[in-house]
């Protein structure tokens, strides 16, 4: 066989195998975290199947409660439109997590509560909120 044909066949063969590989990984991920459905709060309140999902929303004002025994444990309400979802999370919270923050949670919905094992905040490359007039600054009590 002419070397040119050999090369054409090898390259084509490799490309086909590679494309099949990429396709195969897309449909058969080894890890359940590889591809996760992103659904709305309303959708999750209606479904019953115990599938790992990802949900985005806003932390409802004043809903953050820290566990009294374990400060790594937090419960809050996720708000999306007019739908509310109670969420529980144990672990290190991102620095930007607070009331009103836009967050993404990933985990399982069980018995009326969402058990998240991933909690991310949308990274604000700038501070939200409006520019403000000169206001007095006081050192109040600090909490996190």
């Amino acid at each position: 066989m002419a070397p040119k044909n050999k090369i054409v066949i090898t390259v084509t063969g490799f490309t086909l195998v590679a494309l099949f590989w990429i396709y195969w990984v897309s449909v058969n991920p080894i890890d359940e975290r590889a591809m996760v459905k992103f659904i709305s709060v309303q959708e999750i309140l209606q479904t019953e199947d115990n599938e790992r999902v990802r949900i985005g929303g806003v932390v409802a004002d004043g809903s953050i409660t820290l566990s009294s025994t374990n400060k790594l444990e937090v419960a809050f309400t996720l708000k999306e439109g007019d739908s509310f979802l109670p969420v529980e999370f144990i672990g290190t919270r991102p620095d930007l997590f607070k009331n009103g923050a836009e967050v993404i949670v990933e985990g399982l919905y069980q018995e009326g509560s969402f058990h998240a094992d991933i909690l991310q905040t949308k990274c604000a490359s700038r501070y939200e909120g409006d520019l403000r007039d000169a206001s007095s600054y006081n050192l109040n009590e600090i909490e996190i």
Partner: protein, 658 residues
């Protein structure tokens, strides 16, 4: 006054840009050289005006003129001066201006370098660069003008300030370095485009764009590595790469750019693969614009992205135009670009390069697929899917290992063809030693990808050392030089080749670092004073919790005593929990920030994050990670830079030429 001047400069630049394109087009039609000179002069003015506008914005940032919306949003009075300056690329409109600023500097350098060369190609080259400049100028003029005044009807006492995450020196350097890489590919693209239109043959221009591409590639590589370094040092999740859309956006052009750097060598030396190279550089350029789109449009829900903006459709349209125009041009130019030479054998350096290219492009496609999959899925099936790191790792690890292997195979292959006897001669030692190493790794209890990766690393290192040794030996035998002199002369005489080998060694070091991830440990726990906890066989004891108020934040500092399994003291870690804007009356505006502390050794890092604090009970919560071999990634980075600099250093012959 200054903001008005800035806006006017941008408008004028747009006007002159359009004029310059018209003059250059007229020159291409009529051949009247004066038109070319006038067009080129206008192109210089465009770049100068962009630079002036950028300097004016810098002045506004440094002097804290909060009447400019951008200044008020990204800086505050307390922001240190250096970060007032770096706020230039912190936000959308500033960073778009910064993009065209870098392109303008590149354009001026390019015009000066080639003032007496390539008269046929130059008008086209300038037209391409001007078109790109105009695109960004239109964005900064009409869509997001960085000089936009604030719409508040009161006097703004203070700006919102820069995110503390971005107040870090690495983060200050990372974006401009990355941008130098992104923007730089415009120049080789413009040349390739022009060569296609004017049917320019010869290898002189190929040589000069290879240098451009190499400089650009170096900047892009440094930008990516710095980004990883920053994420590792600042973000507190213990890793340096998360396959975030924005990271992928910089990685894709890097992959095609690396492929281009390899295959352009064949075009320069053998005048082959011209079509392929043309497509590669066009793809790379399109990916840089696509990458800017991913970063700046917010189409992907990514931690870096900005909220909805009208930029998305405009960028996408620009990418579509680039791809369409390039596709038509390549298709039309096909007959002219056909080379009468063919690769002679499957076991030749040429086909080695070709395979490396195919594998690079495959990996780029895999990353591209994973990045846009959520968008496609949403459009086609109506369900939004997020694609996480496990997908990218699973799909790319085998492809990456194949690339690692080629890093060693390629240099061993001879040009044109490798005879059977040479094949055995060159490959027996590296393959033999790699097999022995594989058995040792298996005996040590390593399995799976870890064994493959480490074995291939041994193979590549041995292959490259034998290459060096063979070259040195030849000189020693022929000229009777000492080994050191022979090594030095050999590298000097063929800088790009041996520099390339150093880069390959850097890549091996990085792969060793990546492999270390297989052994990462992670644990979260709370500690009271004098409590202990262990991760693996390393113990952590909380000795003290201190409070400190500093000029722009409040900090809790934990003193963690780290001991080994025999009770031997390893180090004391001092992670901090900080609150920025702690004096703000509204608690929701206060900004917590975790300042990490990392203990670094060659064997691995001990990574500590102060997660949160229970002030009532005096308990501090930590996230501790043990990350073996991470340092190899950074050492690989240094090696990569060193190798590229060796390749870039002008040889004596080139010094004489210029």
């Amino acid at each position: 006054m200054t903001p008005v001047l800035g806006s006017v400069s941008l408008s004028l630049a747009t006007g002159f840009g359009i004029l310059s394109v018209i003059l250059l087009s007229l020159y291409i039609r009529s051949g009247d050289y004066r038109l070319f000179l006038a067009g080129r002069r206008m192109a210089i003015i465009v770049s100068a005006l962009v630079i002036i506008a950028t300097l004016l914005l810098v002045k506004e940032l440094i002097t804290s003129n909060f009447d400019v919306d951008y200044v008020a949003h990204y800086t505050s009075i307390e922001t240190p001066t250096i970060y007032k300056f770096t706020a230039l690329w912190a936000g959308q409109s500033g960073s778009l201006l910064f993009w065209v600023f870098i392109l303008s500097i590149y354009s001026l350098i390019m015009i000066f370098q080639n003032r007496n060369r390539y008269h046929r190609m130059m008008p086209w080259v300038l037209c391409v660069i001007l078109t790109v400049q105009l695109f960004f100028l239109i964005l900064t003029n009409f869509i997001t003008n960085p000089f936009e005044p604030t719409n508040a009807d009161f006097v703004i006492a203070n700006g919102l300030g820069l995110n503390p995450l971005l107040q870090n020196l690495t983060m200050a350097i990372h974006p401009p370095v990355l941008y130098l890489g992104f923007v730089g590919f415009t120049i080789p693209f413009a040349f390739t485009f022009a060569a296609l239109l004017t049917n320019e043959k010869g290898s002189l221009w190929v040589r000069s764009i290879r240098r451009w591409s190499l400089v650009t590639w170096l900047a892009l590589s440094c930008g990516i590595i710095l980004g990883g370094w920053w994420a590792y040092q600042e973000l507190g999740w213990g890793g340096y790469w998360a396959w975030d859309p924005v990271e992928n956006a910089s990685f894709m052009p890097w992959l095609t750019g690396t492929a281009f750097l390899h295959s352009i060598i064949i075009q320069e030396k053998k005048n082959m693969l011209r079509v392929w190279n043309t497509i590669l550089i066009m793809l790379t350029f399109a990916l840089t614009i696509f990458g800017t789109f991913l970063t700046r449009s917010g189409v992907m829900s990514s931690v870096h992205s900005f909220t909805e903006s009208p930029l998305g459709p405009i960028f996408l349209a620009f990418v579509a135009i680039i791809v369409t125009v390039c596709a038509i041009l390549v298709f039309q130019g096909l007959p002219k670009m056909k080379s009468d030479k063919h690769i002679e054998s499957l076991t030749s350096r040429e086909s080695g390069f070709l395979f490396n290219n195919v594998v690079f492009v495959t990996m780029c496609f895999a990353v591209f697929w994973g990045t846009i999959f959520p968008v496609i899925s949403e459009a086609v099936r109506g369900t939004k899917i997020t694609v996480g790191p496990p997908f990218f790792n699973q799909v790319n690890v085998p492809i990456g290992l194949l690339l690692l292997m080629l890093t060693g195979v390629g240099p061993l292959l001879a040009w044109r063809r490798t005879s059977r006897s040479n094949f055995i001669k060159y490959f027996s030692i590296p393959v033999g030693l790699a097999l022995i190493a594989a058995i040792v790794f298996l005996l040590f209890g390593f399995r799976g990808y870890v064994v493959i990766s480490l074995t291939l690393s041994v193979f590549v290192v041995v292959a490259i050392i034998t290459e060096f040794k063979r070259g040195i030996q030849a000189r020693v035998n022929r000229f009777g030089e000492s080994s050191f002199v022979a090594f030095r002369t050999m590298v000097r005489k063929n800088r790009s080749r041996y520099g390339g080998y150093f880069v390959h060694l850097g890549i091996v070091l990085m792969f060793i670092g990546f492999t270390g991830q297989a052994f990462n440990l992670k644990k979260e726990f709370g500690l009271g004073i004098n409590d202990r906890e262990h991760v693996g066989d390393i113990n952590f004891e909380l000795k003290q919790l201190r409070e400190e108020e500093r000029p722009n934040h409040f900090a809790w500092i934990a003193e963690l005593l780290v001991t080994g399994k025999d009770g031997n003291s390893i180090t004391t870690l001092l992670p901090e929990k900080r609150i920025y804007f702690h004096r703000d009356p509204n608690p929701d505006r206060r900004q917590p920030h975790s300042e990490l502390d990392i203990h670094t050794t060659l064997k691995g890092d001990i990574y500590s994050v102060f997660s949160s604090i229970d002030t009532d009970n005096g308990i501090a919560f930590f996230q501790i990670m043990i990350n073996p071999l991470v340092q190899f990634v950074w050492y690989g980075g240094y090696m990569l830079v060193l190798g590229t600099l060796i390749a870039l250093w002008p040889s004596k012959r080139e010094k004489l030429l210029t």
